[in-house]
Subunit: 89 residues, 2 copies
DNA sequence: TATATAATTAGATATATATCTAAACATCTA
DNA sequence: TAGATGTTTAGATATATATCTAATTATATA
């Protein structure tokens, strides 16, 4: 996954909200859905984008899928972004 | 300009290349064009996106427009991104 | 002032993506 | 095992965007 693709994954308002929610605690898809004004199908799509960008992971717990931030990956991406953006002329 | 919109501006490979080139030195549109495999029209579009995201600025020098990175804005955005990404649960 | 050079704008097109409804799949429980 | 609950997948649609060619605008110079 390229840095551009990571930026693309981060460039949607709803995905930002999802990441913000997951910063506080792990949440089921249903719980995330309650906080957003989109259908479950659309939410599923966004979670898929975030998963493919390796920004979140889901684990099944009974009927629910619990999503969490991939903190180590977030850290790594932060490093890359800082390296890219902060590098002076 | 929201953080999502900034991410969107950063999410294209050609725009990444433009920023990379401008990290080294200020360049005219023509000089940037020589490094990319796109038409000048497309390049103009990408420069417009980067300008609207406040990531670069252009100044006219005779017949040429010289583009440069907006370093202070880049710094500010870096801060925001780090704040967003590094904030733990 | 006519021509050349540099860059942008206009208009068209093709691809990507955000969204929805409806259907399917997975799991739990009575 | 049938029905309820939670999530994803399929298929459709509308909007956004990356790209191109051709035309236009801005500047310099012969």
């Amino acid at each position: 996954m390229s840095l551009s693709q990571t930026f693309a994954a981060l460039s949607d308002q709803n995905r930002q909200k999802i990441l913000d929610l997951l910063k506080k605690r792990d949440l089921s898809v249903g719980d995330i859905g309650k906080k957003l004004s989109i259908t479950m199908a659309t939410l599923s799509h966004h979670l898929d984008v975030l998963k493919r960008a390796d920004l979140v992971s889901g684990r099944r717990e009974g009927q629910q899928i619990i999503y969490s931030l991939n903190l180590s990956v977030m850290e790594e991406i932060t490093e890359q972004i800082v390296k890219f953006l902060k590098h002076k002329k």
